[in-house]
Symmetry: C2
Subunit: 302 residues, 2 copies
């Protein structure tokens, strides 16, 4: 999976941090988390060609800084002649927002589906699923987890050869989990294939206080993208405004046993990453602070 | 006056041209013409500090690429703690657009006035006025002229001295247009003050075919900012979509006796300015093609 941070600011953007947006690319399919103003410009800059591709857009909540780029994106998809369906998921109220706005910006050349989601399973395919849980932000807010299904185990050609199985159809059958017969012997897949490998899991939880739902959703995630609008110097401000400190995000990451934490939704008061990074690293070493343009490649788990 | 081009693309932005916006600064007051998506980012980049200043925003029409940045701008003004009234002017329908949107983005910390305008005088102060006229674009569209009042004439100190008038209050009175008495003589202002000087006139006409209203509105303008989405190679496309070619914009500029023409709302098909600039210059030499970041200083007329 390729993860691109297109906007990493809190509600007030700066010259270097724009409003929230993260894009995950997986096998030619796009998953966008929030869509702040200017997202279409960042997509052009980063040459992320979403225009005609399968795409799911997840909106955490209906504050402007999280959806302001949606309508420009849809307008440009229209002008590009998109025909693919576009799927949008968000909290209750997102359909009303769409009804008033989308007719202003869109030609009818592609289908648009808008789903008002409750916590739980919100999307499932044969390859992955997306779960949502409640954030804590004063208005209905969702955190999301994109979870790949288990992949089949690693195939060991040397073991197959040692068992006298010729390369070809039979290897394929074993790899696919089927038992085979050869020269009167029965060979089961576990003799040549390792145990199933876990898929990747990415969690997106911004504009929220840390809470138990997010901790549960994040369990063993490969990547947690979490709100860190503030440092612990602004603890009471974080509580008042429904945001998190870097310390709180790192504590949750540690308790949920995630592999890697990326802090985002950074207040304009922080001119450098240092304070937030140090505060998070004290608790949870594999932490970093996002910036606009940060791209990560998450290889499949082995 | 200082004129900043913040967005110069047609409906489909590129990596270098964003959606329409021009800002005119005059004596601490701001006049914004259209407000495409990302305007607030450009304001930050160009250090144009509109946040707490008197500001008038003129929206030419209700296609998304001309107002998509308005709500982010208003949201950020709210977060900045603006208290000044913000005035917005546009064609019929703009109030409805606002009612559905502005409540989603704005705290109530500053007054917001939204004016649905007809062609004619839409704003007048002791220093300037703004006129609107009809554009030709398929939906209600306005072109705007910002016209400064005449300034008083140039004062000639040497003439005053030659007439034996001592520097001081009497000079001030003559400059202000008053007749004075000195040693039994009557001195009239025209003896020491030149003729009144014309104020500046700027016209903004984009997303439109050239038409007679715009030609009249542009008469003798110091600066005409005009749609040139296309070149004459795409004449029929310009006619179909309610836009202009560079050739048509230059022809109108010449006939209206404007001083300077700037072409904007440039289609993404033009990778360089060359075609449009050459086409315009053939007809009207003082033409140029806008780019995002172009800033002009128009000195007062003498």
């Amino acid at each position: 999976m390729k993860i691109s941070f297109l906007g990493t600011s809190a509600a007030r953007p700066t010259t270097t941090r724009w409003l929230s947006c993260v894009v995950v690319q997986r096998r030619g399919e796009f998953f966008m988390f929030d869509c702040g103003e200017g997202t279409q410009y960042r997509l052009l800059q980063k040459k992320i060609r979403i225009w005609h591709r399968p795409a799911h857009i997840f909106i955490s909540h209906l504050h402007y800084d999280h959806w302001g780029g949606l309508f420009g994106l849809i307008a440009s998809m229209s002008l590009e002649g998109r025909q693919q369906c576009l799927q949008i998921y968000g909290p209750p109220g997102i359909r009303t927002l769409f009804l008033s706005l989308v007719k202003l910006v869109r030609k009818e050349n592609f289908p648009l589906e808008v789903w008002e989601c409750s916590p739980g399973l919100i999307l499932e395919t044969t390859e992955y699923r997306v779960l949502a849980c409640k954030g804590t932000h004063g208005i209905p807010t969702l955190a999301f987890a994109l979870i790949e299904n288990m992949r089949s185990g690693k195939f060991y050609p040397d073991r197959a050869t040692a068992l006298g199985i010729p390369k070809g159809t039979l290897w394929g059958k074993l790899q696919a989990g089927k038992t085979i017969q050869i020269e009167g012997r029965t060979i089961t897949p576990d003799q040549v294939v390792g145990p199933p490998r876990p898929g990747l899991k990415i969690v997106y939880a911004i504009d929220t206080r840390p809470n138990k739902h997010i901790k549960e959703l994040s369990a063993n995630a490969d990547l947690l993208i979490h709100d860190a609008t503030f440092s612990r110097m602004q603890q009471s401000r974080a509580e008042e405004t429904g945001h998190s400190t870097a310390y709180e995000a790192a504590t949750l990451a540690k308790r949920a046993h995630v592999r890697q934490l990326i802090l985002t939704h950074i207040s304009a008061r922080f001119r450098t990453d240092e304070i937030l990074r140090n505060e998070a690293e004290e608790v949870f070493k594999p932490s970093r602070v996002a910036y606009d343009g940060l791209t990560l490649l998450l290889p499949p788990n082995e």
